[in-house]
């Protein structure tokens, strides 16, 4: 019906948008949101690929990706909370502990 190519192109666009989001946003939460977008784009590509080459296990893999993304988002947000408590800011420019 719909050529898989279209889905691929969409996924690519979303992925690149995710990268742009990561670099454009100056706060930690925004960057985390960019990462989520990238993950979803990857999921989309996965499923498109599965449809194109008849790979039924793709759904299981997508399930795993979603689960891992959930876990990562939970822990990441907890860390952001901690950083906020410590430094009272979530602007990434202000967080330079890794310098040197």
């Amino acid at each position: 019906m719909i050529p898989s190519n279209y889905f691929f192109i969409l996924s690519i666009i979303l992925f690149v948008l995710g990268i742009i989001a990561f670099f454009v946003k100056r706060d930690l939460i925004g960057q985390l949101m960019g990462i989520e977008i990238m993950l979803n784009a990857a999921n989309l590509a996965f499923l498109a690929l599965a449809k194109a080459s008849n790979f039924p296990e793709a759904q299981a893999i997508v399930l795993f990706v979603i689960v891992v993304a959930a876990a990562e988002a939970a822990v990441g947000l907890a860390i952001i909370l901690l950083i906020f408590r410590r430094k009272k800011t979530i602007k990434t420019e202000d967080i330079r502990s890794m310098k040197g």
Binding site: F22, Q31, T92, G100
Partner: protein, 633 residues
């Protein structure tokens, strides 16, 4: 019997090794017994081998024992092989015999020293090196021994290294020796180049069948003599010997009287065919020897330190030996080496005994009248002095006379006259020493006088033995006047040392020469008596009359100062310049530079570590992009 000669060096070698490794853990008694036993072992083997030699077939000489092949680099081959013939026999007997007596003496002299084991280790090592030197059958192995004795000389001169003067003296000896060794090495290399290898037999063969041109031979002989001049303290490389008196007195006796300094003479005698073949080189050796003999004797006239007098005396006597070898009387030169070993080491050991009894006093101006306090040292000293002065019936006379007669017979009248003059001076300064030390009024330091005592038996017994030999050793080489057969020594050395043609004097001339030598000796003694015993004011008047001359002699002709200014200081300044300019700036600079370059690189890279998450992510992204690009294309 004679085939066991190769064992001779190994007794002291093993003992030295043991002492170096474990010496500090062994008791003094064990160290003493071991060290002396090792040398005695060598002495015993030497005696046995020598006896075997006497009864052996002359045509077999020299006997060679090849132990193992040591260097084999292309065409340069040198084996660790030892040879034994009459010349080696004489040398090993002298080295081990006198060496043994000195080891025993040292037990007493060094009994209270902290570095007892170290001393005996060095002494044994020295004995090993010296034996290697005289027993080697090729020049390269001889050079190993040559260097070895130089090293041990440094170690022993600077034995009390906490004293700056001693350390400096050791350094000076080694460096001056080294300068001579440069010439020696060049000579050896030329020999290897021309002859093919450095075995003595091969060299002699090459000379015999014309393989060596006369000019080359002269060049080589001169180069080798430069080495000998360094080792045996001839002009211009003698300056280390007086300073070497900073070492313990037994060291001076062994190394700087009997053995190491005679290595040069041995070398010339060993290469006698070479020196005879190249007439010019022989001339040079003789002239240097004669001039040194007189020159050193003049410096001995004014010295106040008892050991310095003996040091200059040694230089002078070595000059005699070279004079003998230079005019072709190699046997006479070796004969003088042999007798000199006895009376010079006797003199040094006796001087050591005097110093020991005076608790370390060496200045003769603080001695006097010791005759009655040192009843065993004094006679020994006296015998040694008489022997060196060349008074008839003692050993020194025979050997000195042999040299002077040969010089005259070969027509070198000037050299003969120089030798005679040196004989007068020798007698004079030796008896000046005797009269100042043992006779006259006592000028002793009161502290020293309280502790004044004769030395222990263990020190005076070697003195007695050496005194005995100083008297009797000369009888193996009676002058030709008394018959051709009388010179046993010369005939013994015949296979090794070809007698030089010509030089036969009428017996009348010979007796005249003997008379002249005797007169020279007695003249010297009488003069010394007159100046130092009878009328003490004469020396002072003399000095007052010729202050310049006295200063010149007293300061050793300012040679040390000249060397310092002309050679040493420019070199030191040059080294400092190079050190500052090159070593510090270039070498250290490049090392520090590479370190700072690494630090700089680190600083530049640290610029990228901003700590910002985004920058790191950017780099990630770049990596991914590049990676994908590479994969795609």
């Amino acid at each position: 019997m004679k085939d066991i000669f190769w064992l001779i060096p190994f007794g002291p070698a093993i003992s030295a090794l043991v002492l170096v490794l474990f010496g500090h853990r062994l008791s003094r008694k064990v160290v003493s017994i071991q060290a002396c036993a090792a040398v005695f072992f060598s002495f015993a083997v030497s005696v046995v081998s020598c006896l075997g030699l006497i009864n052996a077939n002359r045509a077999d000489f020299p006997l060679i024992k090849h132990l193992f092949s040591w260097i084999s680099a292309g065409s340069l081959k040198a084996g660790f092989s030892l040879q034994f013939d009459p010349l080696s026999a004489v040398m090993v007997l002298v080295v081990t015999g006198v060496g043994f007596l000195i080891h025993v003496y040292s037990i007493g002299y060094m009994s209270r020293d902290k570095g007892y084991a170290r001393y005996f280790a060095c002494l044994n090592l020295f004995t090993f090196a010296m034996l290697l030197l005289v027993l080697a059958s090729n020049m390269i192995l001889m050079f190993v021994g040559w260097e070895g004795v130089g090293l041990c000389s440094y170690l022993l001169i600077g034995f009390w290294f906490e004293k700056p003067a001693a350390a400096a003296a050791g350094k000076k000896a080694f460096i001056v020796n080294r300068i001579g060794d440069a010439g020696f090495i060049l000579g050896v290399l030329f020999i290897v180049l021309v002859v093919g290898n450095s075995e003595f037999m091969a060299i002699n063969e090459a000379i015999g069948n014309g393989g060596l041109a006369r000019g080359t031979a002269t060049g080589i002989a001169i180069l080798l003599f430069i080495g000998a001049a360094g080792k045996s303290a001839q002009i211009p490389l003698y300056v280390w010997l007086p300073d070497a008196m900073e070492g313990p007195t037994p060291v001076s006796a062994l190394i700087h009287a009997a053995t190491m300094v005679t290595a040069g003479v041995y070398m010339v005698a060993r290469m006698n065919l070479l020196y005879a073949f190249s007439g010019t080189a022989g001339q040079i050796v003789a002239v240097v020897g004669a001039v040194t003999a007189v020159y050193a004797a003049t410096m001995a006239l004014t010295q106040n330190d008892i050991k310095r007098v003996l040091a200059y005396s040694t230089i002078s006597q070595l000059g005699y030996m070279f004079l003998g070898c230079g005019v072709g009387a190699y046997a006479a030169g070796i004969f003088h080496l042999y007798t000199h070993a006895f009376f010079k080491s006797l003199l040094f050991l006796a001087a050591g005994s005097v110093i020991h009894s005076l608790s370390g006093e060496q200045d003769m101006r603080k001695m006097g009248g010791l005759k009655k306090y040192l009843p065993r040292t004094y006679p020994a000293f006296l015998i040694g002095a008489i022997a060196i002065a060349g008074v008839p019936f003692l050993s020194g006379f025979y050997s000195k006379d042999a040299i002077l007669t040969q010089a005259f017979a070969q027509g070198h009248y000037v050299l003969w006259a120089l030798g005679l003059g040196a004989a007068v001076l020798t007698a004079f300064y030796m008896f000046r020493l005797i009269f100042l030390t043992f006779y006259g009024e006592e000028r002793l330091d009161p502290e020293a006088k309280r502790h004044l005592h004769e030395s222990p038996r263990i020190m005076t017994l070697p003195l007695a033995i050496l005194a005995f030999f100083s008297i009797t050793a000369g009888y193996v080489g009676l002058p030709a006047v008394l018959g051709e057969k009388a010179d046993v020594f010369k005939r013994f050395l015949n296979p090794v040392i070809r007698p030089v043609s010509g030089g036969h004097l009428a017996s009348g001339t010979e007796w005249l020469l003997i008379l002249l030598s005797t007169t020279a000796a007695l003249l010297g003694i009488v003069l010394a008596y007159a100046l130092y015993l009878k009328n003490k004011r004469i020396p002072h008047a003399f000095v007052a009359r010729f202050p310049g001359l006295y200063k010149l002699l007293y300061n050793k002709y300012y040679v040390d100062e000249i060397y310092d200014a002309v050679v040493v200081n420019p070199l030191v300044r040059c080294s400092e310049g190079i050190y500052g300019g090159f070593d510090l700036k270039v070498i250290d600079g490049s090392l520090d530079g590479s370190a700072s370059a690494a630090a700089l690189a680190g600083k530049i890279l640290a610029y990228f570590q901003t700590g910002l998450l985004k920058d790191y992510a950017l780099v990630f992204l770049l990596g991914v992009v590049i990676f994908m690009g590479v994969l795609l294309f």
